[in-house]
């Protein structure tokens, strides 16, 4: 049996420029940040991100100029930064194509990809300008001509229910990512994935992708995961590469492991407001850092210790979150 364990560098080297990519997690939770930083260090280019929802990780990739196309429904930093400055700037300069779908549309697009069908029917979000043909940005850019087999030839289709006479449904196109990058609490030594807490849309993202890279807080024996198969999300044969990366989702939070580092995200969000301040931030926290280990040492132990989750509560009881 081939060994799927590899270094963070090796795992990220599996990602080609121009790849269509999706991620585990939800907004600022359980994002594979260590891989995001490494992608920037390796200078990945022309990425096509397709995400059920987005967040800090993609603001980083977009801000650093690694992204050509972005399809999702939301991007920001939750409480720690409302405006997606990087996306805003790249849209204005025309350096990125941003395609809007609704949250439920994106979820069903990923589910269709995960189950091998080209589209999914839904009642969700009728009446929104998301459906306005004027706002089909990939179409306006001429990218729906079929040359890129991953890009659907239409943004939406419509179909009338012939069974119960319930009217016209929206058909959303499947998503077919080349790569899904996951951050999990645990992965087996051969790739079986265990995620605790909310699974968000991870099952859809993993099963839709052709190649799956799993970062995890820890690698554990498959025999341990097989003792409670009801707690595992996907089996080993769906996973291509695994890397043990403790704190690998920082500054996003991981159920049962550590909280969101709000201060860190706020600083990034503020820095991302302008090109020059963003450049300085990237120099300090990404390009100027050799490895994930160096990143952790730079963060300092006390900071991470304050974020560490209480094993009963599954979140940190020590981090200061509010004004009182």
């Amino acid at each position: 049996m081939e060994d799927k364990r590899c270094s963070l560098k090796e795992a990220v080297q599996l990602i080609d420029d121009g790849s269509m990519i999706t991620f585990s997690g939800f907004t600022i939770w359980r994002r594979p940040m260590a891989a995001i930083y490494e992608m920037l260090r390796q200078g990945k280019k022309n990425l096509h991100l397709v995400e059920v929802n987005s967040g800090t990780h993609s603001e980083l990739l977009i801000g650093a100029g690694a992204v050509a196309n972005w399809e999702s429904c939301w991007i920001g930093h939750e409480l720690y930064g409302k405006t997606p400055y990087c996306l805003d700037r790249k849209i204005k300069t025309g350096e990125i194509i941003a395609e809007d779908y609704s949250h439920q549309h994106m979820l069903y697009r990923m589910q269709a990809g995960a189950m091998g069908i080209p589209y999914f029917p839904t009642w969700a979000s009728r009446g929104t300008d998301i459906l306005n043909p004027e706002y089909d940005m990939l179409g306006k850019a001429g990218l729906r001509d079929g040359r890129d087999p991953r890009i659907p030839r239409q943004k939406f289709a419509y179909s009338v229910d012939p069974f119960y006479g319930e009217g016209e449904l929206i058909h959303v196109p499947a998503v077919k990512p080349d790569v899904c990058i996951v951050h999990a609490q645990q992965v087996g030594n051969n790739g079986t994935v265990r995620i605790t807490g909310q699974t968000y849309s991870d099952e859809q993202a993993i099963k839709a992708a052709e190649k799956v890279i799993v970062l995890a807080e820890e690698i554990v024996p498959e025999s341990y995961l097989r003792q409670e198969p009801d707690r595992n999300l996907v089996s080993d044969y769906l996973v291509d590469a695994i890397v043990e990366v403790p704190w690998g989702a920082h500054p996003t939070g991981v159920y049962g492991c550590y909280d969101v580092d709000g201060g860190f995200i706020s600083e990034f969000s503020a820095a991302s407001k302008k090109e020059d301040t963003l450049e300085a931030w990237l120099q300090e926290w990404v390009y100027g850092v050799e490895s994930h280990e160096e990143y952790l040492d730079k963060l300092k132990l006390s900071r991470l210790t304050a974020l560490r989750a209480n094993s009963y509560h599954k979140y940190s009881t020590r981090t200061k979150r509010g004004m009182r």
Partner: protein, 272 residues
């Protein structure tokens, strides 16, 4: 629960407190409620302690009926999982939404018009925006599939517009795609458009909608706000004809619950 009816004075509560309290009062007991991050969490957690002790609280990221001791900072927060009946993911929650299981939802918006059309996507021209907002998220999904949606917003002239720059979530009359025609919600979609905006609560007033015209009207005005101030902070002519008067202020009991039980850390209740 017996409600203590002693009202606090305007100088004893913040506008956020009033928003949370007014929102909580929209919840009916036993309702299944969908809540986004922030004020909606305060509102529903308060309602669970007062007028809707049996309501079910669903978070978009995949938790059903959370009973956490600590206020989540986001719907994806591990704090949402503590004490819930089911922890799952988006597929469970959005499917239940489409199945018609959600009675009430609380959402926010950056811009709104007189028909309740809401914009959370972009300011200015879509292709060449003056400012990109975070985006729709589940706003148009929840607005169209929850039976009632209550919007919580900031009252400013630039946000309450004659027409929004972009319709993220449709109100009572909107442009229908692919046709592009302006239509009423019912004629457009019948029963499969399950909800839409039912009320809008701002820092100045509570608004509702006329069943026939689909136009917004003033239901009540918050203490210390005059009709003149309200109109000055709205980009379209307001209908005061059905105004019931002053919004019921928070009671001391409600404030105690908000500050001592719901948000003791001061995550969203920051000014006190």
């Amino acid at each position: 629960m017996e409600r203590n009816r002693v009202y606090a004075r305007p100088d004893e509560y913040t506008i956020t407190d009033l928003l949370a309290v007014a929102s909580a009062r929209e919840v009916r007991d036993h309702e299944v409620v969908f809540a986004g991050t922030g004020l909606p969490m305060l509102a529903i957690m308060l309602a669970k302690q007062t007028n809707a002790v049996n309501c079910k609280l669903i978070y978009e990221a995949g938790t059903i009926d959370s009973q956490g001791a600590s206020l989540p900072s986001s719907v994806g927060d591990p704090r949402c999982v503590q004490g819930c009946t089911v922890v799952s993911g988006l597929f469970d929650v959005f499917n239940q939404l489409q199945r018609g299981k959600i009675d009430l939802a609380f959402l926010g918006g950056a811009e709104i018009d007189q028909y309740g059309n809401v914009n959370t996507t972009v300011a200015g021209d879509y292709a060449h925006p003056t400012l990109r907002f975070p985006g729709s998220g589940g706003n148009p999904d929840i607005n169209s599939l929850a039976k009632r949606t209550v919007y919580l917003m900031i009252q400013e002239k630039r946000r309450f517009k004659e027409q929004v720059d972009y319709i993220t979530s449709p109100g009572w009359r909107f442009r229908q795609w692919p046709s592009g025609k302006w239509v009423g919600r019912r004629e457009a979609y019948g029963t499969k458009f399950m909800g839409g905006p039912n009320a809008v609560i701002t820092n100045m007033a509570v608004f509702r909608f006329d069943e026939e015209s689909g136009r917004m009207y003033v239901d009540s005005i918050h203490p210390s706000i005059t009709p003149e101030i309200l109109q000055e902070n709205c980009g379209f002519d307001l209908d005061f004809s059905r105004c019931r008067g002053e919004t019921e202020p928070p009671t001391y009991e409600e404030l105690d619950i908000l500050y001592q039980v719901v948000d003791p850390e001061g995550i969203f209740l920051t000014k006190k």
